[in-house]
Amino acid sequence: MSIVPIIEFDRVSKIYPSGSGPITALHEVSLRIAAGEFIALIGPSGCGKTTLMRLIGDLEQPSAGTVRVKAKSPDQARRDRDYGIVFQSPVLYAWRTICKNVELPLELMGYPRQQRHERAMSLLRLVGLGDFSQAYPHQLSGGMQQRAAIARALSFAPSILLMDEPFGALDEITRERLQLELLSIWAESDPRPTVIFVTHSIPEAVFLADRVVVLSPRPGRVQRIIEVNLPRPRAFETREDPRFFTLLTEVRECLRAMEG
């Protein structure tokens, strides 16, 4: 890559202590991600893909090596509010209406009331929840809750979006719809955030990403990086494109090769 990377891993290892000796979750991972890229992290469970994401987001510290985000430490990037995070569960606060949940980061960052309300409402409309702004989280379905979580992550226009299997708990139909919505929101954002999307679904990774980073099982290493040269904007038909199937096969075989 010719451009300066926004996220840079330099021989990063992560070792967890455990009762039966230390477990190496990641071993000497080096990786460069460009600004505005959509990266999917995929690999078998326990390969450290979530750990990799969490190292970027300063939710965990590397045991060795360095992670740089916008030429800063992840800790500094977090303090500069560079991250919007979407977890596997929506993590909406039960006592706040959907609108107030989306406003939460803006509230913490000291935006004036009027401005944060307008911002939250426009994001809720963007994710199709305009009519549900005054509902409480438990009144919405799982898919709607996750949409609200995405709106919340985008509310303060962070430059990096960290998504940890955000659609993992949803049914297939909702999941495919949300994938499309996510792509269109991402494409419309200016500037486009860099997205790190952790998934264990091969079609999801290929459909969404510019590059699919395949991680090997324990200890996690970057096994291969597969460029997804499917045209954007991607649509429902993309999933029927022969190139889509070729890429699926490529990722699948890469994952299978590691098992043997």
């Binding site: 977890f87 993590v91 509902a135 438990h138 009144q139 379905s141």
Partner: protein, 265 residues
């Protein structure tokens, strides 16, 4: 899709009635059974008066009974505010300094299971049997431990991801406390408070059994029962129930206003 329901929709009254009629029926049947048993076996008045007789006794001097009830309720209320307040404060300290929690919370859990009411005679000894201080102290000690345990549990109830979300926004400790821990602890606090309303009325009445001014429910019940004026004792018990219920209902109403998100659950 679940659409949030408007608060005042037709049929809400019917729902409400459907929810309470089994309890109303049971209550009516219970009172009827009591009335019937007393009449059928012609139980002597000093043993068990019928509900109707208790009600008549109450109606003979409602002003007096309610006024002595107010004295006892005052002690219960003061003790409850003191005990719950200190419980909340201690829970906050426990969350701020976990080392204190490690020492204190297991003890508080144990103390919640102990009949603290047994302290009543000692409190009378230490703080004076006539003064309200000994009654308030009993109630305060009774309500302190369950509040501490509940509120502490509530304050530490937010899951890891809810806290990490705050972390990712670089939220200050103060903001994490006020915008995450406190609201998460509210349901726990109100659960404790509801239990404490009942506990505090029990505590205040029983504490008065060990001495107190003449114009207090516990003293009245004990002295009337002592001379076999059972109807009078029962009418005072009725007043204790009324105050206890009213206290409980007020807490439930406050809870509904403070936690609107819980309404539809």
């Amino acid at each position: 899709m679940t659409i949030p329901q408007p608060l005042d929709q037709p049929g809400r009254r019917a729902d409400w009635w459907r929810a309470i009629w089994p309890a109303v029926l049971t209550f009516t049947l219970g009172i009827g059974l009591w009335e019937g048993v007393v009449g059928f076996f012609a139980l002597p008045l000093y043993l068990l008066p019928a509900p109707s007789q208790i009600l008549l006794t109450f109606l003979a001097q409602p002003g007096y009974l309610l006024s002595i009830g107010a004295v006892t309720f005052g002690n219960a209320f003061a003790g409850c505010v003191l005990g719950c307040g200190l419980g909340v404060l201690t829970a906050i300290i426990c969350v701020r300094w976990p080392i204190i929690a490690e020492g204190l919370v297991p003890l508080a859990v144990a103390a919640s299971a102990v009949p603290i009411i047994a302290l009543s005679p000692l409190m009378s000894l230490w703080l004076g049997s006539i003064s309200p201080a000994s009654k308030i102290a009993v109630v305060a000690v009774m309500t302190f431990f369950p509040t501490l345990v509940s509120v502490y549990k509530g304050l530490i109830s937010p899951r890891a991801d809810a806290l990490q979300l705050m972390h990712s926004y670089a939220a200050a400790q103060r903001a994490i406390f006020l915008k995450l821990r406190v609201p998460a602890a509210l349901p726990f606090f109100f659960n404790a408070l509801r239990v404490c309303t009942t506990l505090s009325m029990i505590g205040a009445v029983v504490a008065e059994f060990f001495g107190g001014p003449q114009n207090a429910l516990g003293v009245y019940i004990k002295s009337q029962a002592g001379v076999l004026r059972t109807r009078e004792a029962w009418s005072a018990i009725l007043v204790a129930c009324l105050y206890g219920l009213a206290f409980y209902v007020v807490v439930v109403l406050i809870e509904r206003v403070v936690m609107p998100w819980n309404k539809h659950r």
